[in-house]
């Protein structure tokens, strides 16, 4: 039976390096995904992910468990992403996936999907990436945390230091903008 985050954190605070590395293995993908969707660059997202765990490790003694360990990690990662965006002084980049490999796509197909469906799905994915990159940072962050990481409204509000109603407003506004953008780019869906 695997240990909980809280147990691993407690052992890490006692100097058990393996326990912390278990936390790294457990959370590296979600943190990387958060960074990638926030800043849109693969290499930089990897750097942010590594830096997140390094900072977490160094600050671990000061982590008192007021929030969930994952929320604490998310907060560190988001701060690093913000630093990156400010440092680079630019909007996140909608990084184009490495072309469309039909063979690779076909291997991902569910039995009911045709190759046309797969290509369409890839196109929607690219359109989503582009539309997300155009959103204001606060709306994008709210959508990422809610849609892809399943945080509750309250967890997002705590993480972003804003009222719960503000989180809902950001989500509503963000989804509305995405809806317009995707309708503009993706009328093909409704063929």
């Amino acid at each position: 039976m695997s240990s909980t985050d809280e147990e691993l954190v407690a052992r890490s605070q006692g100097g058990d390096m393996d326990s912390f590395n278990q936390l790294v293995m457990r959370w590296e993908r979600p943190i990387y995904a958060l960074a990638y969707r926030t800043i849109g660059r693969e290499e930089d997202a990897r750097d942010v992910c590594q830096e997140t765990f390094l900072r977490a490790f160094r600050a671990l003694k000061g982590f008192k468990g007021q929030a969930k360990f994952s929320s604490w990690l998310y907060r560190i990662a988001l701060n690093l992403c913000r630093d990156w965006i400010r440092r680079e002084r630019r909007q996140p980049i909608a990084q184009a996936p490495e072309g469309i490999d039909l063979v690779e796509l076909a291997s991902e197909a569910t039995p009911t999907e045709t190759i046309e469906d797969l290509v369409a799905r890839q196109e929607i994915s690219q359109a989503v990436a582009r539309a997300m990159a155009m959103l204001p940072e606060d709306q994008r962050t709210a959508i990422i945390l809610k849609e892809y990481h399943g945080l509750t409204f309250q967890e997002i509000a705590d993480m972003l230091d804003c009222p719960l109603s503000t989180v809902k407003t950001r989500l509503y506004q963000g989804l509305s903008v995405l809806r317009r953008q995707l309708d503009r780019n993706g009328g093909y869906k409704h063929v």
Partner: protein, 265 residues
């Protein structure tokens, strides 16, 4: 007035039972909210198609007791890269270049009556031909060797002997003086060795500097080449992307046409 917070809460299934019931009653009456809810569910479905690329990192926290900081993140790099640090690379390159330079430059340390000489550079001595073949003979029983051409005739020998005898007579005093000078120089070997060492050190320092500059140039050239290659790859990917998109659009049009056609039939 429609409550957008409730719409969002309903969308994410975050309303308690009474609030949920109330909002569903509102939805029955409000077409605008119904359409909006439908559209946002569509957006959420689209959002699910966007996945990040699969990361290939596997860094772990490791202890580095010698380092000032307690720990570092250690990426899982291939084994050949683990030891190939920049410092090791520079050191290996420096050894190779110094060895090659010493071989090519033919470093020569020579001691003669003018003192010590350190010389580098390719020697221009040509190989002797058979006509120039030299024979070694002993002269005057004084342990001095001279080189004479093979086949020199008796007259030439006699002439040489005479000239040497004359030179010995006229330079005996000078010879004694020269010998004393050489002895003085010989007694000063430590200083001469020190000079040689300094000259070698200077030469080594200069070569290291040149090596560093050359390596910097190579790295810069590689970076430029890499940037150009990346740019080329991006352009190619862009072209492929555009062509595939165009092709897909054509397929869709064809499918639409076929669909309409089959419906008409």
């Amino acid at each position: 007035m429609c409550n957008k917070d409730d719409l969002v809460s309903y969308l994410y299934d975050d309303l308690d039972a009474p609030a949920r019931g109330a909002f569903e009653r509102h939805l029955h009456a409000c077409t605008e909210c119904r359409d909006e809810l439908q559209a946002m569910r569509g957006v959420r479905a689209d959002l699910l198609t966007w996945s990040p690329p699969e990361p290939d990192f596997a860094f772990r926290i490791v202890n580095e007791p010698r380092a000032a900081q307690a720990s570092v993140l250690r990426p899982n790099v291939p084994s050949w890269r683990a030891w190939f640090t920049p410092a090791a690379g520079f050191a290996a390159a420096a050894v190779l270049v110094l060895a090659a330079a010493a071989g090519l430059a033919r470093v020569e340390v020579r001691k003669d009556t003018d003192g010590f000489t350190v010389r580098t550079g390719v020697s221009s001595v040509s190989a002797p031909t058979s006509a120039d073949a030299l024979a070694r003979v002993s002269y005057g029983g004084q342990g001095r060797d001279v080189n004479l051409p093979v086949g020199a005739d008796a007259a030439a020998w006699a002439s040489i002997e005479r000239r040497i005898a004359a030179l010995e007579a006229t330079t005996r005093d000078n010879g004694l003086r020269n010998t004393s000078t050489l002895s003085a120089r010989g007694s000063n070997n430590d200083e001469v060795l020190k000079v040689v060492r300094e000259l070698l050190a200077q030469s080594e320092t200069r070569q290291k500097g040149e090596l560093a500059l050359r390596i910097r140039d190579v790295i810069r050239d590689l970076d430029l080449k890499r940037a150009a290659d990346l740019n080329g790859v991006r352009q190619t990917v862009g072209r492929i992307d555009a062509s595939v998109t165009e092709e897909a659009a054509a397929h869709r049009e064809l499918m639409n046409y076929l669909l309409k056609d089959s419906k008409q039939k």
